[in-house]
């Protein structure tokens, strides 16, 4: 493949703060092929979400830009569907209606009524949520709601699926389960996926490529690791696989030796919730390191 599907060139992101301009991202260059599953990993605050939001069009890069299939990205759109960390389903709509809102908007003209209905149900079945079609997000578990969030994103037939820590808020078992489903779905549909994660195992297990980001400010791409593991991948058998273990070590080494966070874990003026999630994240990473 000569021409890249998605390309970020010289992306710089600066935010205006009371203390002056804060450079969050500096000179990010990325080329992603069609059907590739790419993970962005890095310590919290390194601007992973900012990169994703720039691709989504929710944020505008202050310099450089993002090109998808030859078109410059400068506003959000359904061809770059986003799966949010906390599902972001409309709490007043049922599961079905949430997916319907997306399908109605994207395929209003190109699909007949019955066709749209079938398409909504098809996507709910894809994530095994057809049984809860008439429930509201408040009546289902976080894992189920996240499935619906994925179904809604897939229902837009996106050329790139953007996932912002999609499984971050879920317990370990549910997370493993959803990771397996996501792998299957991605293999079937061959979507291009960009996923943000904090979880080293998740990154190695799911990705074709792991983009490791340096710490901010002025974060950029630190290392670009290609994961050459055959698919379908099985988490249990891979646990002992020497190549898999090697990839994991590469990522861990990057995170804990090259990009060690020097910041103390004492909560400062930052909101307590943010501090809690940050320490939780570190616990998870250290656990992963010990395992």
């Amino acid at each position: 493949m000569t021409k890249s599907h998605l390309e970020l060139t010289g992306v710089e992101m600066a935010f205006d703060t009371p203390k002056g301009s804060f450079i969050a991202l500096d000179n990010i260059n990325l080329k992603i092929r069609k059907g590739e599953f790419v993970s962005l990993i890095g310590h919290s605050g390194c601007g992973k979400s900012t990169v994703l939001n720039i691709v989504a069009g929710l944020l505008q890069a202050t310099r450089g830009g993002c090109v998808l299939d030859g078109h410059e990205v400068n506003s959000p759109g359904p061809e770059r569907a986003v799966v949010f960390q906390n599902h972001a389903l409309m709490p007043w709509l049922t599961v079905y209606e949430n997916v319907e809102l997306a399908v109605q908007q994207v395929f209003r003209r190109s699909m007949a009524k019955q066709e749209r209905k079938d398409w909504i149900n098809h996507n709910l079945e894809l994530v095994n949520m057809a049984h809860a079609a008439n429930k509201r997000p408040g009546e289902i578990s976080g894992g189920m709601a996240q499935r619906v969030g994925i179904a809604r994103a897939l229902a837009m037939k996106p050329s790139v699926l953007l996932m912002d820590e999609p499984f971050g808020a879920l317990d370990a078992l549910t997370r493993a389960h959803l990771q397996d489903s996501l792998m299957e779905i991605q293999q079937d549909l061959n979507n291009t996926v960009i996923m943000i994660t904090h979880d080293v195992d998740e990154a190695v297990l799911l990705s074709d490529r792991i983009i490791m980001m340096t710490n901010g400010p002025a974060a950029t791409v630190g290392e670009d690791l290609r994961i050459d593991l055959p698919r379908p991948r099985n988490r249990v058998t891979l646990a002992d696989d020497p190549t898999y273990v090697h990839y994991r070590q590469e990522v861990l080494r990057f995170l804990y030796e090259k990009q060690r966070k020097l910041e103390k874990i004492t909560p400062r003026a930052a909101s307590t919730r943010e501090a809690a999630s940050a320490t939780g994240e570190k616990d998870r990473l250290t656990q992963a390191a010990r395992a």
């Binding site: 989504a56 959000p76 986003v82 906390n86 972001a88 809102l101 908007q105 837009m156």
Partner: protein, 332 residues
């Protein structure tokens, strides 16, 4: 506890509703129902007792302050007056129709006059009038406040520009607005065949001016507080402005809007009574004022009936709003 659970065990053949009823009247359920009903009853009885004992001690130029018994009696009296008036009105209408038929029988081209019954409105008529006025004012306030609130909530700059005005106008008493509204209505609403009484318009507009603020503020706060993730979903879907408002912003702020509406309706009802007293527009406020001017020995009892009625209707209005809120809002 043991003495309360003496009801016989229900047999399997008893219908479900009977079983549910039996459960309600036995054991802990009865205790809970009892507590729910009993304590308020005790409160009311204590209040009535205090009122009964204290009222005769208060002497006014119109005799001693009425106790619960006199007020109850006047309540009955007002009801009787109402039924008597209705009978008279029915007779008047029947007579008028009979006369008109006679005239038409003699001369089919004759112009017949149909006059409404000229009798004074009764207490119940005044209640209905007041309810009509308050609803008109409240609906007008809602029609103004909700869309404005959405606009303010969506636009930070707009909100900043208008906020001081809202803060200044919000605490203004209805009594201050009334003279202004009266003058403006008299000057602008000039028509040979008016659809509404001027006094009705004055009361209604005063109610609107005083009651729209809580809805306006709550709507704008609710709209501004829409979950940013949901706004991003809307942006990714490229929803048009109207679809965004209809499908994301409005449903999301419905709970806040309804809380505002409930406060607004409470204020509307309070303001209405004052407005009717001063504007001399028909309704409960005018009833109170007329009785006060009348100054008979029964006046205080009749005013007290009105006071209790006003309180009870206010309570009912709030309950109705709560019911609607439960039907409409997704978080209930």
């Amino acid at each position: 506890m043991t003495t309360l659970t003496t009801s016989k065990p229900t047999t399997p053949s008893t219908p479900a509703w009977l079983k549910a009823l039996a459960e309600r009247f036995s054991g802990p359920a009865l205790l809970a129902t009892g507590r729910q009903l009993l304590l308020p009853m005790i409160g009311i009885l204590l209040f009535l007792g205090f009122w009964h004992l204290a009222a005769p001690q208060v002497n006014t130029s119109l005799g001693s302050f009425p106790g619960p018994a006199q007020v109850w009696e006047q309540g009955g009296q007002l009801w009787q007056e109402h039924t008597a008036q209705r009978e008279k009105a029915d007779k008047f209408i029947a007579m008028q129709e009979a006369r008109n038929e006679r005239i038409l029988a003699d001369n089919p081209d004759a112009e017949v006059k149909i006059r409404p019954y000229p009798g004074a409105p009764t207490f119940l008529d005044q209640i209905v009038t007041s309810l009509g006025t308050v609803l008109a004012g409240f609906i007008l306030a809602t029609i103004i406040a909700v869309p404005l609130g959405i606009v303010f909530g969506l636009n930070r700059y707009f909100q900043a520009a208008v906020n001081p005005l809202i803060q200044i106008f919000k605490p203004v008493s209805p009594l201050a607005w009334l003279p202004l509204v009266t003058m403006v209505v008299s000057a602008t609403y000039v028509s040979d065949d008016p659809m509404f009484e001027k006094s009705f318009l004055t009361s209604m507009i005063t109610v609107t001016l005083c009651s729209l603020w809580p809805t306006l503020i709550n709507t704008s706060v609710g709209v501004a507080a829409v979950n940013p993730d949901l706004v991003n979903v809307s942006r990714v879907l490229r929803l048009s402005f109207w679809t965004h408002v209809r499908k994301v912003v409005l449903p999301s702020s419905v709970p806040m809007i309804f809380t505002g509406l409930r406060v607004s309706l409470g204020i509307a009802w309070m303001v209405l009574i004052a407005a009717e007293m001063l504007a001399q527009s028909p309704g409960l406020g005018k009833f109170v004022w007329d009785e006060f001017q009348n100054g008979s020995s029964q006046s205080l009892s009749r005013i007290m009936v009105a006071v209790l009625t006003i309180g009870f209707i206010g309570f009912l209005l709030d309950r109705i709003m709560l019911l609607i809120q439960k039907k409409v809002a997704w978080n209930q």
